[in-house]
Amino acid sequence: MTAVIEFKDFSFRYQSQQEPTLHDINLTIHQGEKVLILGPSGSGKSTLGCCINGLIPFSYNGEIKGSCKVVGIETKNANIFTISQHVGTVQQDTDAQFVGLSVGEDIAFSLENNATPRDIMLEKVDAAAKTVDMSDFLMNVPFNLSGGQKQKVALGGILHDEEEILLFDEPLAALDPAMGMTAVDLIDKIHKNQNKTIIIIEHRLEDVLYRKVDRIILMNEGRIAMDTTPDELLRSNLLKESGIREPLYISALKNAGVVFGADEHLDSVDELDIEKYRPFVEKHFEKVNTNHMIEKGEELIRVKDVDFYYGSRQVLKNVSFTIHKGERISIIGKNGAGKTTIARLLCGIVRPKNGEVYIKGQNYLHLSIREIGRLIGYVMQNPNQMLVKDMIRDEIALALTLNEYDQAFIDERVELTLRMTGLYEMRNWPVSVLSYGQRKRVTIASILALQPDVIILDEPTAGQDYHHYTEIMKFIEDINKNYDVTILFITHDMHLAIEYTDRSIVFADGECIADDLVYKVLSNDDVISRANLKHTSLVHIANRLGIDPEEYIHHFIETERGVL
């Protein structure tokens, strides 16, 4: 096997930073391998990817020590065009990397830049489109494509036979669970059929393991913490220590007291030697009383028979549900199912075409967006789209100022909010120095300042690793518990739904197809397939052991929450 990527005593420091981001990297990847680079945010995994595709040092300046060779070329002596001929990259942001005005054009982009004659270009584009299953979409514009389709296009764009290394930077970040599975499967097929070297940078271990990988490189704090097989990594306790989420089935088995031996295959839930673990699981598992209902507070929002259209396209069909004080609800469903529209509808930004929405018993048609804003807060996915002030304090005061409260009240409320959210120490910090997670926290605080009864959070965990994710969710959980604020998550992250919400409302194609306790929803086959979700690995274990999946998930949730 020839080595296609070789790092030797490599370290890298960004020009703007004091400390190196990568230290003493020694790593060899061979032709035809499929490697996962795993690590929490800030571990240097993306930086490592940038060293492989040439963005470092050509787009990001900095200081390199040691050697990095890609297909035998020392990268710092080459240029980005030479490297990009060998390394094809699919970036995380599916939208920004779609440069063409149609699918065909985007797939052709690198060929155009190579001045490939058009007849050859057409053949190659057709072949690539066929591989990624986008042949029928060649004339489509990017605005009509889903995130998954855009990603397929990006992948098609780097399949024109020159690139022997394919690099995927967080390919699952923007996809719903079913699309994520399709993506992982597609990458696997290309790996098998085209003998390319595949490098995947991700922190969602369980989702990547849906198809086999040869090797996992675990990054932590700029160093390679482990370079090993999936089985060995899963057996170790390094994942939790590094802030990576263990696959649910591994956690469930570990909870049951299983200690994995050295020769056990763990990387696929369907290939586990389940009989070996049966006694542990059966001893550990007990039926939780599923009949206990969560106590509900007073009714806050009632959505009744709502229809909504964008132009002539119906996006909500006869939707009804009720939300009570103190509830934790996840609104889930595939991309484009109407989840975001629901959030906008509740905030009064769009109003129902038919049907009614009542807030605290009052039909909200008479309320302005601003009046609704005092009752229902809306936190958007990208904090950068919400932050407008220089100082944290001013940001939190903004909503109060806009609502024209008097200054004394504002000062008092801002201080209270700062203390509630643990931002008091940072109150005079400029927003620009905050990390992504801290910004998120500030946006939540800026909404809390109005003391709404309900907070809607759109994809609160997008773009965050397990560690930061846990931190944010703990923060939100505290607010829910201590101040009885109703929390509504809009998400396609099933882990989030399982761990941090009690009830799920599921949408598919504008219809509300389920509204029930979360473990019931996530063990319902029909709901899973209609909403583009996937079965959690817990369901696989339960099925293989002959335990009722619903009860098993419920038991798992209660165990994880420390109830049992």
Binding site: N53, L55, S59, Q85, N144, A399, L402, L450
Partner: protein, 283 residues
Amino acid sequence: MDERLFINLIPGNTFLDKLQGKTKVRIFLICIVALIATWDMRVILPFAVLSVVGLVSLKPNWKKMWGVFAFVIAMNLFNLFLLYIITPDYGLNVCGASTVLFKFTDFYVVTAETLWYFLVRFTKLMGSFIVSLTFIQCITPSEMAAGLNSIGVPYKICTIFSLAFRYIPDITKDFNNIKISMQARGMELDPKKTSLWERLKQNVIILVPLIITSFDRVGNIANAMDLRGYGKGKTRTYYSEHEETSNDKKMKYFYTFLLIVTIAVIVLRIVMPGEFEVWTPWI
């Protein structure tokens, strides 16, 4: 989302739509230069008629276009009206005669030459407008990039066009998202409840996050382009620029003819400038 733009991203099915970007760009440039270069109705009228034929052949959505047309016609008429208010006998300067047809007062006279000049001016401006509209309606931004590139514009400049059209809708979407979040936090953008000045100030606040998110996006786009070899060679080819069809070949003769006419008009104007700018049939 794309429906809101006045341009097409995917080529249509009519004769003009199916031509190469190269052909479209050339015809457009020749027509617009001809229309700008002369005040001679004998040149302007055929070009104006040609552009109307072009627009009609595209079978455009007239309903969508009606507003723009009304606006442009109104502006042109208003312009002529102002001209008349200031210099009623404008025709004397440009045509060299003053045949009075009607008198409001001694100053406000209506002369045949002024009317003729106004007619020429109106035809010229409407012709330029219609030819531009036809061009925009029949070309996709990528074809335009390819077409401009074919006449020697460096491809990096051409790319700006296609990229702008690619990302304007995304930026609009960002803007709307930010606006929504600000409204939910209590920003009042209802025209009935706030003054224009207040609303302008509010919109400036929205610009801050918009600029920050747009910069993020620009960085990502630049990386995506670098990684796929943009800027590697001196030339590049275009996926959207199809092979020359028989229609393109025919049009080549046609626009060569137009080019000769245009050059002749310009050369004649320079070599043998007439005494007066506007050719008038009866003078």
